[in-house]
């Protein structure tokens, strides 16, 4: 199956082409949906086959390259459409196609009746195609092809309902913003690639990483490369300062938010950092930057999440926050913990978004959680699965999120510092709080919607079955990565599986001090109990004592406003960056430099010549005597000149 890995890319492309070219004619939603979902399903099966084949190989051979054809080659630069099958890429491929398949199926129900049904599945398959290029590509350029490709799909899917309004602006603006902010990140990624090519004379992973590991390159170069690449990651994975596009990306249909803006695309930055782990591990300064950016993003996004009222907004900020965790993991050198969280997060966050979609679907497009309430009895499956996901993301013991998040918390202490652990744990507490605020306001308490207009109902099976599968994964998905604390030495299967990929990086990182199991248990108990208290507290307040919440927010009106308005970062960017560039371009570059200066110079020259020739023209007045006088004068001057120069 490894030899067939390129079909995980080609089949979604075929799905894209069929639905894109014929979808308008096919019209039948079932056929279109089956083609779209089927393409991803087949890709999943192939990836699964490749996984088993990989498992059957000895560890040293678990990295295989499948080359399709040469893309372009100039000078020393040779770029192939080549795909790398190794534990990391297969893990990602399974997440993308697996969760992707479920979301495709769900979308058949969710998008039912939409005029753009065929267009939706066209874009979704294109997304899977691009994403598979991103994670399977064996060189930076194919990765970049996927990287920009998923950005395009994100643009198209955010702007799917392009004629609608979104918050203060339009859906189209949100889409454009996403693409442009991503491009700022891509700019960094491009520079990173140039520097890699300059340094290693190649852009192929195998070559670059082996040269990087051999250690002839100065640390300063690694630092710059890692910095550039990380700029790319902050764009794609919505980290400070480029996170602003992700909350707006919620303008797209909810399955899109689940697939692209929660489970898969936004984790591309984490994947890229993990893939280039040897480069990051060789740049300790940038590792610290990654930690700081990650933890700040995790913390601040969580604070914003505390007060948002749009169900998707809460989840969006939660995603930004969780992505921050993943970067913290990478930054402290626990790459496989980062990827582990990518996986569990894909399960429970996709579930949360799809659940939210189910709620929105049942509530006739209402997204404000203040207008929900008591939905538990109206949509039991959605409720049950949603609350499982909420428990998972809050790190409730035994669920998937617990294992992955606890691991990150532990490494942030053991590999970094207690201070980092404290902020990370605080973030976890806030996460538990806002998740259960969301759960309470949505499913518990009194029904705050208008019963005459809104008739909440459970979603059809095609939507609820994917929810159940994801709920199952959210519960049990963590057991492949049980920490050694419980499973004994070498018991963490997930780590063991990814170990060969990160071996070089781990070798380069400084050894960390030994820590005792007691410390680990103590910290775990602390963070878990704090989170559980926060969950209970949120549930209590928002179910039975909503006035308390209002009173508190009134009391801290200033802080509340700052949080509610997301620290006014968008407004700041608008005033400090976007508007000045626009004004400068229009007011100076175009209307002054181009029109007045350059054209003014040209037209001025033309005018000057016109004037001069106008003056000279008068000399040719046609009077012969005048010519004679001039001629005589001239002869006289020349004569004098000759005589006096003798």
């Amino acid at each position: 199956m490894i030899d067939l890995i390129h079909f995980t890319i080609i089949i979604p492309l075929v799905g894209f082409l069929i639905n894109g070219l014929l979808g308008r004619k096919i019209k039948n939603e079932k056929v279109i949906g089956a083609i779209g979902s089927g393409a991803v399903g087949i890709a999943f099966i192939i990836a699964l086959g490749a996984l088993f084949q990989l498992l059957s190989l000895p560890e040293s051979e678990r990295s295989q390259v499948v080359t399709l054809f040469n893309w372009f080659s100039v000078g020393n630069l040779e770029i192939n459409f080549a795909y790398l099958v190794d534990p990391l890429s297969i893990t990602m491929a399974l997440i993308v196609t697996g969760v992707g398949f479920l979301i495709h199926v769900y979308s058949i129900g969710y998008m039912h009746g939409d005029k753009g049904f065929w267009r939706f599945f066209t874009y979704m398959n294109l997304f899977i195609f691009a994403m598979m290029n991103l994670i399977l590509g064996d060189n930076f350029v194919v990765l970049f092809l996927g990287w920009e490709g998923v950005g395009l799909c994100s643009y198209l899917l955010i702007g799917f309902w392009y004629d609608r309004k979104f918050e203060k602006g339009t859906v189209a603006q949100a889409a454009k913003k996403a693409f442009i902010v991503n491009r700022i990140g891509d700019f960094g990624f491009l520079l990173g690639m140039f520097l890699i090519y300059l340094t290693f004379d190649s852009l192929n992973f195998t070559e670059v990483f082996s040269k990087a590991a051999s250690g002839a390159v100065p640390e300063a170069t690694f630092t710059l490369i890692a910095l550039f690449l990380f700029i790319g990651a902050t764009g794609k994975s919505a980290q400070i300062p480029l996170y602003v596009w992700l909350p707006d990306a919620m303008a797209g249909p909810t399955p899109v938010s689940a697939l692209i803006h929660a489970a898969t695309m936004v984790t591309a930055g984490v994947y890229m950092v993990a893939r280039t782990s040897i480069i990051f591990a060789s740049a300790p300064a940038i590792m610290t930057v990654v930690v700081i950016v990650g933890i700040l993003t995790a913390f601040f996004a969580a604070t914003i999440g505390l007060v948002q009222n749009d169900i998707k907004k809460v989840l969006a900020y939660s995603t930004v926050s969780q992505l921050g965790y993943m970067f913290v993991a990478c930054g402290v050198g626990a790459f496989s913990a980062g990827i582990f969280h990518v996986m569990t997060h894909a399960f429970f966050k996709a579930l949360l978004f799809l659940g939210a979609g189910s709620v929105i679907h049942g509530m006739h497009e209402e997204q404000n959680i203040q207008n929900y309430g008591g939905l538990k009895k109206h949509m039991p499956v959605t409720y049950l699965t949603f609350i499982i996901a909420a428990f998972a993301i809050s790190g409730f013991p035994g669920l998937s999120g617990f294992f992955s998040k606890d691991e990150i918390l532990w490494y942030s202490y053991s590999n970094f510092s207690l201070g980092l652990w404290i902020i990370a744990a605080l973030t976890a507490v806030m996460t538990a709080f806002y998740m259960f605020r969301l759960v309470s306001l949505t499913f518990f308490g009194e029904e705050r919607f208008d019963h005459h207009k809104v008739h909440p109902h459970e979603s059809p099976k095609v939507m609820t079955v994917p929810l159940m599968v994801l709920a199952f994964l959210s519960v049990f998905g963590g057991y492949i990565g049980v920490p050694e604390l419980f499973s004994g030495e070498g018991g963490n299967k997930f780590h063991h599986w990814l170990e060969p990929v990160f071996a070089a990086a781990n070798g380069r990182l400084a050894e960390n001090a030994e820590h005792s199991h007691f410390e680990e248990i103590l910290l775990m108990a602390l963070s878990v109990s704090a989170a559980i208290i926060a969950m209970w507290f949120a549930w209590k307040i928002f179910t039975t004592n909503k006035e308390l919440a209002e009173k508190t927010s009134n009391k801290f009106k200033g802080l509340y406003n700052i949080l509610f308005n997301k620290y006014f970062v968008d407004e700041f960017y608008e005033k400090a960056v976007i508007s000045p560039i626009n004004k400068f371009s229009e007011g100076f570059l175009w209307k002054i430099a181009d029109v007045r200066l350059i054209d003014g110079f040209v037209n001025g020259t033309a005018g000057l010549i016109d004037n001069i020739s106008g003056t000279i023209k008068r000399l040719q007045n046609g009077i012969a005597q005048f010519y004679a006088v001039i001629m005589m004068t001239g002869i006289a001057i020349i004569l004098f000149w000759i005589i006096f120069s003798l």
């Binding site: 392009y162 520079l191 040209v602």
Partner: protein, 503 residues
């Protein structure tokens, strides 16, 4: 040496054809149109024959046809091509029939003259790309101005006279400088000659200052044509006022004559000066990239936006040429083709919708994704190819240029590339913003509800361009390999004389 007549046949086809067109009756518009198309298709077929016979492993000129013209001055009719001119030749013969079809509905007055000028223009462009004699080159270079002048001046928009005069004067000013340099160079020892291949062995031995002046005279002439910042202001006017066919040819081929001239003449004739001037020129190129993009961003007229985007894109090409690396030069060459394809497609699309609404104001549009889905899809593809999305053609060129300039020893400074790469961000800003305002949102204008989507003729024009956009994006090898040996040999030639600079 055996003379090969294919290039001469190619050159004569549109000339003879254009004269034939003059014998047709003005009233028989459709006969004229079909005849024009037929002739340009013959030219296309001839050029494909040339492609078939072309040997991409040779570093010298092929298909040479030489007839001595003025013996005492060693001026001859001397034509031949290498891979670089072949690509541009193909671009010319490929775009001309498409643009001719595109005018079938929009040009209704003086169809005969229009077709005549278009074919003469094609002949001029072909001639410029195949000349291997400076005298012949200069004559054709100048001759080509005339049909373009009339195309803008007769069939253009409201301010066509201003635009065409500006176009003429700008390019003429540059040409005169070049003429002086040509004569000066031809007179350089050992003997008077205008034969380019012989001069390749003369130019590099012209001493310091004098060579620099010659270089600058050639350079300015080409830089105006490119157009390089700050010599670009004729372009927006010319583009906006020209009829669609004029804009397409102007952007698609005419601008490339500037960059082609740099590669064919400036680099090999004056290698030392080119290397010395490279950092300064690259600064202008990078300014052009950003400047063009920023000014494009704030345009309210779609056509002007595309015009300014050309300034930005051609900046990339110039940067690629003066980086003196194989990657960058190959990138510059492929980017010349890419720009012809994507900007050509954009101008055609703008023209198609202009035919329907007679408005180029961005604010006039909105929400056409709903009413004109096919048009919007094509516009999106063309925009993305211009933005440089990987998988489409623009990416290959930009990526190679930037990679090559980053490692350039002549430029030897990362900032060129870093600033140039911001152009990648700005391109997304101005094109997607334009797309958002034109295609997305609610349909704001009732006039937009009544207009039809692309018809089959228009699709027939656009499809080949879009196919090439994807083809070059996925498998650029078929194009890159045509010029691989030649660009290496040009760089080798430069390196031979500038050993010190490159070490």
């Amino acid at each position: 040496m055996e003379n090969n007549l294919l290039l001469t046949i190619l050159l004569l086809t549109p000339i003879i054809g254009s004269i034939l067109v003059l014998f047709l009756k003005e009233e028989q518009k459709n006969v004229i149109r079909v005849t024009g198309l037929f002739i340009s298709v013959i030219a296309l077929i001839v050029s494909l024959f040339i492609l078939g016979d072309f040997d991409s492993s040779r570093s010298d000129f092929q298909f040479i046809h030489k007839i001595l013209w003025v013996k005492s001055l060693d001026i001859s009719y001397h034509v031949g091509i290498d891979g670089i001119s072949l690509l541009l030749l193909l671009l010319t013969t490929f775009l001309t029939p498409l643009t001719l079809i595109s005018t079938w509905k929009s040009i209704t007055k003086n169809v005969k003259l229009f077709t005549f000028f278009m074919l003469m223009l094609e002949a001029g462009m072909i001639g410029v790309f195949i000349s291997l004699d400076l005298f012949l080159f200069y004559v054709l270079w100048e001759a080509m101005l005339i049909p373009m002048y009339f195309i803008i001046g007769v069939w253009g928009g409201e301010q066509r006279i201003y635009a065409s005069v500006k176009f003429f004067i700008f390019t003429m000013a540059g040409s005169l400088l070049m003429l002086i340099a040509i004569i000066w160079l031809a007179m350089s020892p050992p003997t008077f000659t205008t034969d380019l291949i012989k001069l390749y062995g003369v130019g590099p031995f012209v001493k310091g200052d004098i060579q620099m002046w010659m270089f600058l005279a050639f350079f300015i002439s080409f830089a105006i044509k490119v157009p390089l910042f700050p010599l670009h202001t004729w372009l927006p006017d010319a583009h906006v006022q020209a009829p669609t066919a004029g804009s397409v040819i102007l952007a698609g081929v005419l601008l490339k004559m500037g960059t082609f001239g740099l590669i064919r003449f400036c680099l090999p004739l004056f290698p030392q000066s080119a290397v010395i001037a490279a950092p300064y020129i690259s600064v202008l190129a990078v300014i052009g990239i950003i400047y063009g993009a920023l000014v494009a961003m704030v345009q309210k007229d779609v056509k002007k936006l595309v015009a300014y985007s050309s300034v930005s894109h051609l900046g990339f090409v110039v940067l690629g040429i003066f980086a003196f690396t194989q990657e960058a030069l190959q990138g510059a060459i492929i980017q010349m083709i890419n720009h012809g394809i994507s900007t050509g497609a954009l101008f055609l699309l703008v023209g198609m919708i202009y035919d329907r609404t007679h408005s180029r104001e961005i604010s006039f549009y909105g929400g056409i994704a709903k009413t004109l889905p096919v048009f919007s899809t094509a516009l999106l593809l063309a925009s993305l190819s211009s933005v440089g999305l990987p998988g489409l053609n623009g990416f290959i060129g930009e990526f190679l240029i930037l990679t090559g300039s980053f490692k350039s020893l002549v430029l030897n400074n990362w900032w060129y590339t870093i600033f140039a790469a911001t152009g990648v961000i700005f391109a997304a800003v101005y094109l997607l913003w334009m797309y958002q305002r034109v295609a997305f949102g609610k349909v704001t204008n009732d006039k937009l509800l009544a207009i039809p989507d692309l018809n089959s003729r228009e699709l027939f024009i656009l499809l080949p361009l879009l196919v090439f956009a994807v083809w070059i994006g996925i498998y650029p090898g078929s194009f890159l390999e045509l010029t691989d040996v030649n660009s290496a040999s040009i760089l080798g030639h430069v390196k031979e004389f500038t050993f010190n600079f490159l070490q």
